[in-house]
Amino acid sequence: MEMHPRVREQTRSEFDTLIPDESELTANVRIEPGRAYGFFTDTTVCIGCKACEVACKEWNNLPADNIGLTGESYDNTGALSANTWRHVSFIEKPVLRHDLQQPFQSGWLMMSDVCKHCHNAPCLEACPTGAIFKTEFDTVVVQQDICNGCGYCVPACPFGVVDVSKVDGKAHKCTLCYDRLKGGLEPACAKSCPTDSIQFGELHKLQARAQERVAELHALGVANAYLYGTPGAAGATGDLQYLNAFFLLTDRPETYNLPAAPTRPANRVAPALTSGLATVAGLAVAALALFARRW
């Protein structure tokens, strides 16, 4: 077959195989099945470059969606969707008086949002086909060969992450680069983040690192820095326990389009079923009495 000239312009890669455990070089973590991994997103160092969005789209071969401009600061992505698994939000805060200016940043907040990979994941618990499962890396993934697009995971998610694609009719969300983890690679978004706002690692180490970062920020005078999604913190309420992808925020969760106190939907199954069945049973007993009476 005749080759297009452009094909010859490509230079050969220096490596003919994958570097084993490349994540040790890029994120100082060895990826092993059976351990819990996650993201720590430190919003205080996010510069809104959207490298994570681009890296995610490139690696996962996702098409651009929501074509057009929103007029909402630099955020033209809008929201997480079936084709957008990282979303950088931009919040322009009113500029405070100079002497009250927060020292680390202007009145501009940026946050790279992502699937939270909840410990008690509501989407997983809702999935009636078993398509959504917990991987050996303690992340939550939708198996595309099983999902039948019932869409029940979409309202189940307390963070509005999961979305059903109208094109292929399946549910989609961040896989925490399941294929890369299996190959010993750091997730694409974390690897591309130039300021290390997105940090990938073992969950308990990330949580410890995040606590240190909060203490450091408090010492620097950023009194409003706090964690969202660590055990016992905001975002990990209502029996969700903790989020494998958690955040360091400096304003109310709602500012970043995050719920302050989400809950675990599966806890409402038993109350609803018992109450409904009790109502039906009561009316059934009344019906039995009516039909059985002799007058």
Binding site: H4, R6, V7, W59, N60, N61, L62, P63, A64, D65, N66, I67, N83, Q144, D145, G149, S165, K166, V167, D168, G169, K170, H172, D179
Partner: protein
């Protein structure tokens, strides 16, 4: 309107694949839910570098196409 393109599959992720046509231009496709092919059929096409013909439509509000059927040419 249904259009057609021929080429080889270079990237496969779930139901999404990239096709390089004979002019070296890359096209991004999403497998339509009405397509007979399943996402699992895409990876062998990439491994074997099979030449395929894709019938597709424009997807709304996406920079990508909706592949409605795939035919093997070799």
């Amino acid at each position: 309107m249904v259009q057609t393109v021929e080429g080889m599959v270079t990237i496969v992720q779930e139901s999404r694949f990239q096709l390089i046509d004979d002019d070296g231009v890359a096209h991004l496709f999403l497998l339509s839910r009405h397509a007979a092919a399943e996402p699992a059929d895409l990876a062998p096409l990439q491994h074997r570098q099979t030449r395929i013909r894709v019938h597709y439509r424009k997807a709304r509000n996406l920079i990508g196409q909706m592949a409605s059927s795939i035919g093997v040419l070799d």
